[in-house]
């Protein structure tokens, strides 16, 4: 469904993403992890058109989308959320989502937009009341809204920049289950970006690990968690998950 080949992004002399290639199969959830500044968001921004790659190709459903305008990529079936929710405060919750339904599908039909908004809001569990204000939402609510906006654009591929940092454990589990539900019920392929490994590892089919703009590991969650390079990267940056990963590695090594 998505084939990324030799993707490079340089900002001046700094290489944020260096020659990264990967594939995403239809219907899978790919986890994209790595410490802060490893290039996850930069890759996302190139996939969604916000940034233009320095080099490399991005084939989505057989079409090259690298360097295309963001709205064209969204219209071709890619949906995205932002790490820090970016709601439109001057619009109601419903209008936020209806806007994405109207422009995101390229159909430009008011009725279809409202319908898409209602479905997306119901999916994430937000009220479909037309006038409820965005300002009443908490951190978890804003993340749901972000997801509803992306869903309303009718994506085949969802780029979920989900940083769960601001949420408590219960909310994190909820968010993770939500992504799985979106894949299972709507058949949407998902790339999920996160810098905490814990929750992500439970949900994803495959994981890709980035460090300093390069891909250092890729594979099944259990295999990646045991990869010594991954453990090295995570040691000290994320105590919990790296210890868990290290523990698992030790068990495997029979120590």
């Amino acid at each position: 469904m998505l084939t990324v080949d030799g993707l490079v992004k340089r900002f001046g002399g700094f290489t944020a993403v260096n020659n990264v290639s990967f594939q995403v199969e239809k219907g899978e959830i790919l986890g994209l992890i790595g410490p802060n500044g490893s290039g996850k968001s930069t890759i996302f921004n190139m996939l969604s058109g916000t940034l233009i790659p320095t080099a490399g190709s991005i084939l989505f459903d057989g079409t090259e989308i690298a360097g295309k305008a963001p709205h064209r990529i969204i219209n071709s079936g890619v949906g995205r959320t932002f790490q820090i929710p970016r709601p439109f405060h001057r619009l109601s919750i419903f209008e936020n989502v209806a806007l994405a339904g109207y422009y995101g599908q390229g159909s430009h039909s008011r009725a279809k937009a409202d319908e898409a908004a209602e479905r997306a809001l119901a999916m994430v569990g937000l009220p479909t009341d037309r006038h409820a204000s965005v300002d009443g939402l908490g951190a978890a609510g804003l993340k749901k809204l972000e997801l509803a906006k992306a869903l309303a654009t009718g994506p085949k591929l969802l780029l979920a920049d989900e940083s769960l940092g601001g949420l408590d454990e219960h909310e994190m589990d909820q968010a993770a289950d939500m992504l799985r539900k979106i894949r299972d019920e709507l058949g949407i392929t998902i790339i999920w970006v996160e810098h905490i490994m814990g929750v992500l590892m439970r949900v994803v089919d495959r994981v890709m690990v980035l460090d300093h703009g390069e891909k250092i590991s890729e594979g099944l969650p259990s295999a990646v968690a045991g990869d010594p390079r991954v453990i090295e990267v995570y040691l000290g940056t994320d105590a919990d998950s790296s210890q868990a990963a290290a523990g698992e590695a030790r068990r495997k090594a029979g120590v």
Binding site: H71, I74, H108, P127, A132, S133
Partner: protein
Amino acid sequence: MNPRYIASAVGLAALVALPFVYREPYHLHILVLILIWSFAYTAWSIMGRFGLVSLGHGGFMGVGAYVTALLWNHLGVSPWIGIPISMVAAGVLALIVAYPCFRFRITGHYFVLVTLALSGIVLQVITATRDYTGGSLGYTPNRAPSGKGLMALQFDDKITWYLIALGVWVLGLLIWRWVDRSMTRYAMEAISEDEDAAAAAGVNVTAEKLKVTLISALMTALAGALYCQYQMFISPDTVSGIAVSLQMVFAVIVGGLYVSFGPTVGAIITIMLAEILRIGFGTKAVGWDNLVYGVLLVVFIIFLPKGILGSVLDRWKTQPKPTERNEQEILKAARR
């Protein structure tokens, strides 16, 4: 039937009937000016309300007025054709200036500066080509031979002009309302908050901004052309330049940026103010109105940012509604 429609219909009927009942020429003259300028201010607010603050609208107005008059005087083109041509010219000018701005994300203060330059350039062109335009001395469309008034869009009686201005003013309000109820409004509100997030919702940011800019420029050029046909005299100071652009910003902010009748209230205030100064102080007060505008603009931005009409309507609406409690409960549920 919706009581609002009935009220609008009654109000409109009263406005149409007015000149047949009340014929005082000076007062009708002031009303025509108010209606034409209201239309121009409404045009400005269509983009201004979304944070696209333009100081270039004096330029569009100047193009509307001068192109129409020059075509008539030099080529004998009837204003009925000249006005659409002048509007197209203003539209093309708007696209030439706005496209690079939007494409390369020139927003906020920088956008204001670019449009300010546009005002200056149009003014300079009019002054520099004085052999054709009369320069700063102004320009008068040739009088049509008698009996050809309709073809030349020149009318001597105030009632005809009043009705034309009224029609155009209503058209302006309808366009404002149409934009206000369209999806473009949502898109523009989103764009004015966060262009990247709007693009991620699938909005073609550049195209939507160009759309409202184009609508606004076309309307402004029409206002300029009508002003020229009505006054039968234009000068760079009255229809173009930075002073006219500033006057638009001032009037809309004073009247109310986010309500349909705001620009109209702004026009009533600015034109009354200019007339009072003119009658009260005569030629001694030339330019004073700009000074008063400037001071009032600062006062309004600080104390009444929604303008006179916007603030009045707000106060009206803030009486608590029974549904508000429901909304709070729904939100509480949503938070979890």
